[in-house]
């Protein structure tokens, strides 16, 4: 099939950026979306132009590198699918496809579709861990974890840190991402000792990074490639409230 692409091009963080149009010819339905972009890029280089910069690494939907808004939807709108796992069989001949980077104040653009997501790392550094030193731990089976709780923790822990939730949210809120981590660690017994500290510290850093507030529109859940449930945001709010009470703030 042949397609028309409207792609956001921006040379660096200071550049204002613009859309440019390209043709994609002979696209096979078995290609992934990123393989389609590879083909376009080979053509661009061949004609002496710079290729479209975009992040990708695993191309298996697990590393969370790929990050682009396709026709207005983060990752392209296939349920539970990252851009790298989206296949061209879901597009049809002659279509126009618009491709943009994640847009959020806390995710400045480095170039074209590549953005800076280090804000996520800084949130993790404030509390997204259980403080255990290497070697200073009990036998693994000494801490039984009920299967249901462990499964629920795993549902949250699956977050790949891609940032689509932020890109989809009209407030650019990072609540789903932060909720996933806080929920994972508060659900398992190992995470109990730091439960309150963690919730307070991560939420504070999230606010400091300039992410917006959550108004529970659910657009994050809709685009999340790991289908992280909105329920975790409710859980995180409870965790946060609980921490404030314990601290005596309210």
């Amino acid at each position: 099939m042949d397609l028309k692409l409207k792609v956001w091009r921006q040379d660096n963080a200071d550049d204002v950026g613009r859309f440019e149009e390209y043709q994609a010819h002979d696209i096979s339905p078995d290609m992934s979306f990123l393989e389609m972009l590879d083909v376009v890029n080979e053509g661009l280089i061949g004609s002496g132009k710079e290729p479209i910069a975009f992040d990708s690494d695993c191309r298996e939907g697990i590393c969370g590198s790929c990050s682009m808004v396709i026709n207005g939807t983060a990752h392209g709108g296939q349920k539970g699918t990252t851009a790298c796992q989206l296949h061209m069989r879901h597009f049809s001949d002659g279509m126009t496809i618009t491709i943009e980077p994640w847009r959020a104040t806390a995710f400045p653009v480095h170039r074209d579709l590549v953005v800076d997501r280090t804000a996520f790392d800084r949130i993790q550094q404030k509390g997204g861990f259980i403080s255990v030193r290497t070697g200073s731990v009990p036998d693994a089976n000494a801490i039984p974890v009920p299967k249901d709780e462990s499964d629920l923790a795993m549902d949250a822990a699956q977050c790949i840190g891609c940032g689509a939730c932020v890109a989809a949210c009209k407030n650019a809120s990072a609540m789903l991402f932060v909720a996933a981590k806080i929920s994972h660690l508060s659900l398992v017994p190992q995470g109990q000792p730091e439960r309150e500290r963690r919730a307070l510290a991560m939420v504070k850093q999230m606010d400091d990074e300039g992410f917006g507030n959550c108004t529970v529109t659910g657009s994050c859940e809709a685009v999340c490639p790991k289908e992280i449930s909105l329920d975790f945001i409710a859980r995180m709010n409870r965790e946060y409230g609980r921490a404030l009470i314990k601290k005596g703030t309210i």
Binding site: N12, S28, D30, L34, E35, M36, D38, E42, G46, K49, E50, P51, D57, C58, R59, E60, G61, I62, C63, G64, S65, T81, Q85, L86, H87, R89, H110, R111, V114, D116, R117, T118, D121, Q124, Q125, K126, G128, F129, I130, V132, R133, T134, G135, V137, P138, D139, A140, N141, I143, P144, V145, P146, S150, D151, A157, G161, H184, L185, V188, Q190
Partner: protein, 645 residues
């Protein structure tokens, strides 16, 4: 070249304990006077960086992704081995050690493998304490599954995302240390050379991948945790960015490269769908626990399937050949990877392949679904089935999967001694980047184990010896001639890549190299084929340096430039792989030389002449490298022909 493995004396089971006692310690108050560079943030790098920082060292950690959490380890699916014997099925440290040495086809170093098996139990404790949500039984205890090459159930897992969960565990420890200021993290930063001062590794030169800025970093020791080189084949299950650059540039500075020809071809990957293919996707080996591999008995039936005239379900039970169960009754579908891969190739070579290209066999879950119910199968493999459907458009609960072998893992790597130090003093290598534990073939679920063993439990001890010896004052100013000179070499290469302005893209060269490697140095290798490759690769390399087109400049984010640098290294490294494969006149593990097989087509080792580690020394541009040998001595395990019948 000094290849002293420094294996401690004494009985096998006591070597590591004894060695830990014999190692010099760094005084706790002095640790903060030392700086260690860790390149890589995968399981090996993140665990090493976090643990070194916990001990009190100052650490600088580098990775090329935008976050340490995205290192390629994230993609591991199936699980991690440990000799916990939680299943009470007869497992032990000795059995895991034995299985790993045998699985590696008697080409690994016994003492290293024994230590690996010993610390495997600590890894699970460590990860569970970090909150890694491993699969559990209803009683709340940890669940296990079986993996290829073992008859006990010792693999721990977190759904089909074990690597992700383990890496996020290590990343959380790393993040904690970054927050505490003990680790300085440099994401989107690529190491382009290692700096040697008086023969010791004392720093690195890196490029900031956003601004293009080149900078020098000095330290008391350098740790490479930069992963494997499977992308020499262009198509592999490795992430797009995985590369050999860090290891290869260290090799060019004098570090020996061991067993580069040992590559693992994984039997269960999604077959190639066309020319556009940018990478291949693994379907976890754990699927072979419940999936049955088969092709039609007859070529005629297979041909009808290829043409779309028949479906798998149309083939009667009696007309199917479950060839692994037939040929290897005691291991069945769980034979090690090299055996499963070669048999798939053989079935397809016989014209019994079941996908359009002829290169694919079935992996069928019909029996498992009947036996366990679809729910239980979904519980175990749900995300893998989903991924399969996304890529192929086919539902594996209803139709069997089609699979074909693909390059997956590289057992070879920089040579290291028992302390994980290369022959360059101060240069340590951990994880997939070193050669040490898997011999000629790695067992499933053992790479995660090795990466974390190296990073959490081995390197943090052994590096102390070197640091104590050199002392805290042994640090070189980055304005020294060595640092400045190395930076100049790096800049010269970048300028050269940008100045050619020819006609071909980096990808086109990479793809062409990959095809040569797959054809001549892939699942089956021969003298004639390897010699042809050794002639062809330098020609391709010459064309690369004459006709490459890298648009743009150095001073900005330039993905073509990054890729060109990596392809340049692969173009030299591929030749080294072929030379090593040519030198090794035997078949062992993943290295199968057509000239050396038993009458039944199984790999035929030559223990008398080839039970050595082949370590290559760089001799200069376009010079033939020199082979050095570390002889392998087996005290504990008796070498036999591997049999999975």
């Amino acid at each position: 070249m000094n290849l002293d493995a420094k294996i401690p004396s004494g009985p096998m089971a006591q070597k590591w304990d004894k060695h830990q006692f014999d190692l010099k310690l760094v005084n706790p108050a002095n640790k903060r006077k030392y700086e260690v560079i860790v390149v890589g943030s995968g399981l090996a790098g993140a665990s090493a960086a976090a643990t070194l920082a916990e001990l009190g060292y100052n650490v600088k950690c580098f990775c090329f992704q935008d976050s340490p959490r995205r290192a390629h380890s994230i993609a591991a699916q199936g699980g991690i081995n440990a000799a916990k014997n939680y299943q009470n099925d007869g497992d032990s440290v000795h059995r895991l050690f034995y299985d790993t040495v045998k699985g590696g086809d008697y080409r690994s170093r016994e003492a290293n493998v024994h230590r690996l098996a010993q610390v495997s139990v600590n890894i699970i404790d460590q990860c569970a304490a970090q909150g890694v949500p491993f699969a559990r039984e209803y009683g709340g205890l940890l669940a296990n599954r079986s993996f290829g090459g073992a008859q006990v159930s010792r693999t721990f897992y977190a759904r089909g995302q074990t690597g992700q969960q383990l890496l996020l565990g290590a990343y959380s420890s790393l993040s904690r240390q970054i927050g505490l200021g003990k680790v300085q993290m440099f994401p989107r930063t690529e190491m382009l050379d290692v700096v040697l001062v008086d023969g010791h590794a004392k720093g690195i030169v890196v490029r900031d991948m956003v601004s293009g800025e080149i900078s020098r970093h000095s330290a008391h020791a350098v740790v490479l945790a930069t992963g494997g080189y499977g992308n020499a084949f262009f198509l592999s299950t490795n992430a797009m960015g995985s590369n050999v650059t860090a290891s290869f540039r260290a090799y060019k500075r004098g570090a020996a490269f061991a067993n580069p020809c040992y590559t693992q071809i994984h039997p269960t990957c999604i077959p190639v769908s066309g020319e556009h293919q940018s990478k291949l996707t693994l379907m976890s080996e754990s699927l072979r626990n419940d999936g049955r591999v088969w092709v039609p008995k007859s070529q005629a039936v297979a041909e009808k399937i290829r043409k779309g005239e028949l479906k798998a379900s149309d083939v009667a039970e009696g007309d199917r050949d479950y060839y692994l169960e037939r040929k290897y009754p005691s291991f069945g579908n769980l034979v090690p990877r090299d055996v499963a891969s070669r048999n798939a190739k053989e079935a397809c070579d016989e014209g019994r392949g079941v996908v359009g290209s002829g290169l694919g066999v079935y992996l069928d879950f019909e029996d498992a679904i009947k036996r366990l119910g679809e729910g239980a199968v979904r519980e175990r493999y749900g995300n893998l089935f989903d991924m399969y459907e996304k890529i192929t458009g086919s539902n594996a609960y209803q139709n069997p999967m089609t699979i074909f072998p693909a390059v997956h893992y590289t057992m070879g790597g920089l040579w290291v001694d028992y302390n994980l130090m290369s022959n360059v003093p101060g240069l340590y290598v951990v994880g997939e980047a070193n050669f040490s534990d898997h011999g000629a073939n790695r067992l499933g679920a053992s790479a995660l184990m090795q990466g974390l063993a190296d990073g959490y439990f081995v390197l943090p001890y052994t590096i102390g010896q070197y640091l104590a010896e050199v002392g805290p004052d042994d640090r070189t100013d980055t304005n020294s001639a060595e640092f400045v000179g190395t930076e100049e070499t790096v800049r010269a290469q970048i300028d050269k890549l940008l100045s050619i302005k020819g006609k071909r893209t980096p990808t086109s060269f990479h793809r062409e190299l990959g095809q040569i490697m797959w054809d001549k140095c892939g699942m089956a290798r021969s003298k004639a084929g390897l010699e042809a490759a050794i002639k062809k690769i330098p020609e391709l390399r010459a064309e690369f340096w004459d006709n490459l087109n890298v648009p743009g400049e150095n001073g900005s984010l330039n993905q073509s430039l990054e890729q060109a640098g990596r392809v340049a290294d692969f173009l030299e490294f591929g030749e080294l792989m072929c030379r090593d494969a040519l030198q090794r006149e035997e078949s062992c593990g993943g290295h199968f030389r057509e000239e050396h097989q038993t009458p039944e087509g199984e790999a035929k080792r030559d223990d008398e002449n080839f039970s050595f580690v082949g370590a290559w020394e760089y001799k200069g541009e376009n010079q033939t490298p020199e082979l050095h040998k570390e002889n392998l001595v087996y005290e504990e395990v008796k070498m036999t022909q591997r049999s999975y019948k």
